[in-house]
C-alpha cells in the first residue's frame, strides 16, 4: 500500500492516533501537502461519503472518521497555507435561531471540509446578523442553514429577507437542510438549494461553485 493510501485508510477507519505517522512519512517522501490532502484525506472522506449514502455507515462512524480527518488537516495546515492551496469554496454554516440541534449540521460541515471546502461553523441558535456578518467577513460563497424543528425553520426566511434588505442576496448562494426542510420550502422562502443529506450537499456545491 502506498503511503497516501495508508492515510486514506486511517480516515476511513477513524484512526486518529495512527494518522500522524503516515503523514510525517509522506512529507519525508516528498509528497506535497496538496497530495496528502487530495489523495489521502479527501479520498478517505469520499469513501465514507459513499458508504453513508448507501446507509452502510451511520453518524458514529462518520464522526469517528472526522476525528482522523481533522487531525490530518491540522498536521498539514501550515504547509497548505504556505503553498497557497485553494479551497473549493468558503461556506458559513449554522443552525438557525431557536434551534439547538447540531448533529446533522456538523455532518454537513465535516463532509464539506473533507471535500476541500473552507468551512466556518458558527454553531447553533444563530441569528441572521451572525450568518450575514460572518459571511461578509470571511468573503464566503455560501450560507448554509440547518433546522430540525418545524417551528424554527421559518427563521430561514428571516435570514434570506435580511440578505435581500441589505442588498446582499446575490452575493451568496443559500443552501438549506435539516429533517423537516423540503425542496419546496426552500424555494418558497427564497433560498437557492436544498439537499436531503450531507453527501448530496457536497456534490451539489462542488457543481455550482
Amino acid at each position: 500500500m502506498s503511503i497516501l493510501e495508508t492515510i486514506k485508510e486511517c480516515v476511513i477507519n477513524g484512526k486518529m492516533k495512527e494518522i500522524q505517522e503516515p503523514i510525517t512519512k509522506a512529507k519525508e517522501e516528498g509528497y506535497s501537502a496538496k497530495d496528502i490532502l487530495n489523495e489521502g484525506l479527501i479520498a478517505g472522506m469520499e469513501v465514507i461519503g459513499k458508504e453513508w449514502e448507501k446507509g452502510e455507515v451511520f453518524v458514529p462512524e462518520v464522526l469517528i472518521a472526522a476525528r482522523a480527518l481533522n487531525k490530518g488537516l491540522d498536521l498539514i495546515e501550515d504547509d497548505l497555507v504556505a503553498s497557497g492551496v485553494e479551497y473549493k469554496g468558503t461556506v458559513v454554516i449554522g443552525t438557525v435561531k431557536g434551534d439547538l440541534h447540531d448533529i446533522g449540521k456538523n455532518l454537513v460541515a465535516l463532509m464539506l471540509k473533507g471535500a476541500g471546502f473552507k468551512v466556518i461553523d458558527i454553531g447553533v441558535d444563530c441569528k441572521a446578523e451572525t450568518f450575514i456578518e460572518t459571511a461578509l467577513k470571511e468573503e464566503a460563497d455560501v450560507i448554509a442553514m440547518s433546522s430540525l424543528l418545524t417551528t424554527t425553520m421559518m427563521y430561514m426566511q428571516t435570514v434570506i429577507d435580511e440578505l435581500k434588505e441589505k442588498g446582499l442576496r446575490d452575493k451568496f448562494k443559500v443552501i438549506c437542510g435539516g429533517a423537516p426542510v423540503t425542496d419546496e420550502f426552500v424555494k418558497k422562502v427564497g433560498g437557492d438549494f436544498y439537499t436531503s443529506d450531507a453527501v448530496k450537499a457536497v456534490d451539489l456545491l462542488k457543481q455550482v461553485l
Binding site: E56, V57, F58, P60, L100, L149, T152
Partner: protein, 553 residues
C-alpha cells in the same frame, strides 16, 4: 370509498377523513397510502419510492404529495380509525373517598336545612348555586336528601342513589374518557377516540406551529367536540342524568390543555418552552363545554414545566414516588418521551425528543397500533413469525413489533452492532410485501439512542447509579404489547434495570381517576415543589452520549 373532485389537495382533503400524516406530508414516512379505484392520479417520485410497479398499476399512491388532476374515487389503505387505545380497568381503581349521608324527608327540621346538613354529617357545605337549587327542589318535593361528602365537604345534594365523575386523558394521539361511580369506585364505561386534532399534524410541535400561524381556535374546537361527543355517548348509553355528574378531571400534556382552553402556545413551541400556567386549574364545565348540560367543577391537573405536563404529573400519582425513600424511574414512551427520576425528597424531570419511530412514523412499513399491525415478531428456522393486533392480515409493523424485529435481526446477525445490514442487502422481507430497509434501521437507532441517552443523563444528573433505582415504571401507548426482554437487548434501557420494570399503561388516565376519587392535590403540590426540570439541549455530555448510543451493544 371516497369521491374527490379535480384540483383538490389530497392532504388537506383527507385529513377530514381520518387519514393521518405522521411526517406531516413530507413524503418520507409512507403512512398515508391510498388506492385509486376510479380515474387517474399521475405517479410522482414519492409514489415510486414506496410502491412497486405492480402496485402503482393497481392504483396505489401516497396521498400527501398529490393534487388531483381529474375527478377520482379512492380507498384508504389503513384508516387510523381502528386504533387500539390504552384505557383503564376496574383493577386500576383502588379506593374512593366519596361518602353519602342521607337525611330523610320527614326528618327535615324547620331550621336552616344547610345547618342541619352540616350537623348530621359533621362536614361543611360547599355552597354552589346548583347545590342550593337541588336542595330546594328536593325539599319542595318532600324527598330525602342524599348528601355527597368528599373529604370534609358536602359537595352535592341529590335524591339519586348514585353519583358519577368523569376523568379524561387528552393525549396527543388519543383521547380516553372514563365514567365512574364515585361512591363505589365502579368503572361504568370508557370511551376512546383518536384526537381529531391530528389533522393539524401528528406531533405536538406541528400542532403548535399550526396554532401559531392560524390561531388556536380550530384545535380548541376539535378537542372540545371530541370530548363532548364522548361524554354524550357515555351518558346516553348508561341513561345517566347530567345533574348526577358531579366532578370532572382532565389530564393532558401542556399543549393539549392549552389548546383545550384556547390559550396561546407561542412560548411552548420555541424558547423559552414554558407553559402559561403550572398550577392545577379549577374551572366550571360551562366555561369550556358549552354544549354539555353538566354543571360541575373541572380540575385540570398541574404542569411541571414546558415539556413535562399534567399527563406526567398525573402518571406519577400512580406510583408512590412522592412517598418513597427509594428512587423510582418513570418513563413515558411517546413521540416526546418524558422521564422523571426521584423519591419523596427530590425529583428530576426531562423530555427526550424520541421522534415518531416507535409509533410507526418515518418507518417505511410502520403503522400505529391499529388492527392488522404486527405487534410481535420472532424469527424461527429462517422465517419471521408475526402476530398482529386483532388477528388481522398484516398491514404494517407497529412500535413493539419493530422492537422485536430489530432484536431478531441483531440476534441472528442480519445486522451488525453498528446497525449495518449485510452487504448488498437492500431490504429484509418480514411478511409478504412488508420489509425493513437500512434507512428504517437508522431511524430506529436515532429513536433508541434518544431515549437511552436521556435516561443516562438524567440518572447522572441525579447523582445516582442504575443500581440505586428500585422500580422503573414504563407508561405509554404500546405497553401491553411490549417484550421487555427485547427492549433491554437492543439497549433502549440499561441492562441493570431489566428486573425492575413495571409496564403501567395509560398512567395519565389512571392518575386522573385517582385524583377524581381521592383528595390528593397535596400530593401534586409536593411533587411540584420537589421537581426540577433539566433541558437535555443544555447538557454538554448529551451529544457524545447520543452518538455512542446509536450503536448496539
Amino acid at each position: 370509498m371516497i369521491k374527490i373532485k379535480k384540483n383538490i389537495n389530497l392532504k388537506t382533503f383527507l385529513q377530514q377523513h381520518d387519514l393521518s400524516f405522521p411526517c406531516n406530508g413530507n413524503g418520507t414516512c409512507g403512512n398515508c397510502k391510498i388506492k385509486v379505484i376510479k380515474g387517474y392520479l399521475p405517479i410522482n417520485s414519492y409514489d415510486k419510492k414506496f410502491f412497486t410497479q405492480d402496485e402503482l398499476n393497481e392504483g396505489y399512491r401516497l396521498a400527501c404529495q398529490h393534487t388531483t388532476t381529474e375527478d377520482i374515487d379512492i380507498e384508504l389503505i389503513h384508516s387510523s380509525k381502528e386504533a387500539e387505545i390504552e384505557g383503564i380497568t376496574q383493577d386500576d381503581i383502588k379506593k374512593t373517598s366519596y361518602k353519602m349521608v342521607t337525611i330523610r324527608s320527614n326528618e327535615i327540621e324547620a331550621s336552616s336545612v344547610l345547618d342541619q346538613m352540616m350537623n348530621e354529617s359533621g362536614k361543611k357545605v360547599k355552597i354552589t348555586s346548583k347545590l342550593l337549587r337541588e336542595t330546594s327542589q328536593l325539599i319542595k318535593e318532600n324527598k330525602e336528601l342524599n348528601l355527597i361528602v368528599f373529604d370534609d365537604e358536602i359537595i352535592h345534594v341529590t335524591n339519586a342513589n348514585t353519583t358519577y365523575g368523569i376523568a379524561i386523558d387528552i393525549g396527543t394521539t388519543t383521547v380516553v374518557i372514563s365514567l365512574i361511580d364515585v361512591l363505589t369506585g365502579e368503572l361504568i364505561d370508557v370511551f376512546k377516540t383518536l384526537n381529531a386534532q391530528k389533522k393539524y399534524g401528528a406531533d405536538v410541535i406541528s400542532r403548535i406551529l399550526h396554532a401559531n400561524l392560524n390561531g388556536v381556535e380550530s384545535l380548541k374546537a376539535e378537542i372540545i367536540q371530541d370530548i363532548e361527543k364522548g361524554i354524550h355517548h357515555l351518558i346516553m348509553n348508561h341513561h345517566i342524568h347530567s345533574k348526577d355528574i358531579i366532578k370532572m378531571i382532565i389530564s393532558g400534556n401542556n399543549a393539549m390543555t392549552h389548546f383545550l382552553l384556547g390559550l396561546s402556545v407561542k412560548t411552548l413551541g420555541e424558547k423559552p418552552y414554558k407553559p402559561l400556567y403550572t398550577e392545577t386549574l379549577t374551572l366550571h364545565t360551562k366555561e369550556i363545554f358549552e354544549k354539555l348540560s353538566i354543571e360541575c367543577e373541572i380540575d385540570i391537573i398541574a404542569n411541571f414545566s414546558g415539556f413535562v405536563g399534567g399527563d406526567i404529573v398525573s402518571g406519577l400519582l400512580t406510583t408512590d414516588i412522592d412517598k418513597s425513600d427509594d428512587i423510582y424511574l418513570f418513563i413515558d414512551l411517546g413521540t416526546n418521551g418524558e422521564i422523571v427520576i426521584g423519591n419523596k425528597n427530590r425529583l428530576l424531570a426531562s423530555s427526550m425528543a424520541t421522534g415518531p419511530a416507535f409509533e410507526g412514523g418515518n418507518i417505511s412499513c410502520g403503522v400505529g397500533s391499529i388492527n392488522g399491525a404486527i405487534d410481535r415478531i420472532t424469527y424461527q428456522e429462517g422465517k419471521f413469525l408475526c402476530h398482529t393486533i386483532g388477528h388481522k392480515k398484516p398491514i404494517g409493523i407497529c412500535g413493539s413489533g419493530l422492537i422485536d424485529l430489530i432484536r431478531e435481526l441483531k440476534q441472528n446477525q442480519m445486522i451488525d452492532l453498528t446497525g449495518k445490514m449485510k452487504s448488498n442487502t437492500k431490504e429484509i422481507i418480514v411478511y409478504d410485501k412488508l420489509s425493513i430497509t437500512q434507512k428504517d434501521i437508522r431511524e430506529f437507532q436515532l429513536a433508541k439512542s434518544a431515549i437511552r441517552s436521556g435516561i443516562e443523563i438524567l440518572i447522572d444528573e441525579y447523582h445516582c447509579s442504575v443500581d440505586d433505582i428500585k422500580t422503573v415504571y414504563l407508561s405509554g401507548g404500546f405497553g401491553s404489547h411490549l417484550n421487555i426482554q427485547n427492549v433491554i437487548e437492543i439497549g433502549i434501557l440499561p441492562k441493570a434495570l431489566a428486573s425492575k420494570i413495571v409496564i403501567s399503561g395509560n398512567t395519565s388516565l389512571k392518575g386522573a381517576v385517582d385524583y377524581l376519587l381521592n383528595k390528593i392535590d397535596n400530593r401534586v403540590n409536593r411533587l411540584q415543589n420537589n421537581v426540577r426540570t433539566i433541558n437535555l439541549a443544555d447538557n454538554i455530555r448529551f451529544n457524545d452520549q447520543f452518538v455512542n448510543n446509536i450503536m448496539f451493544e
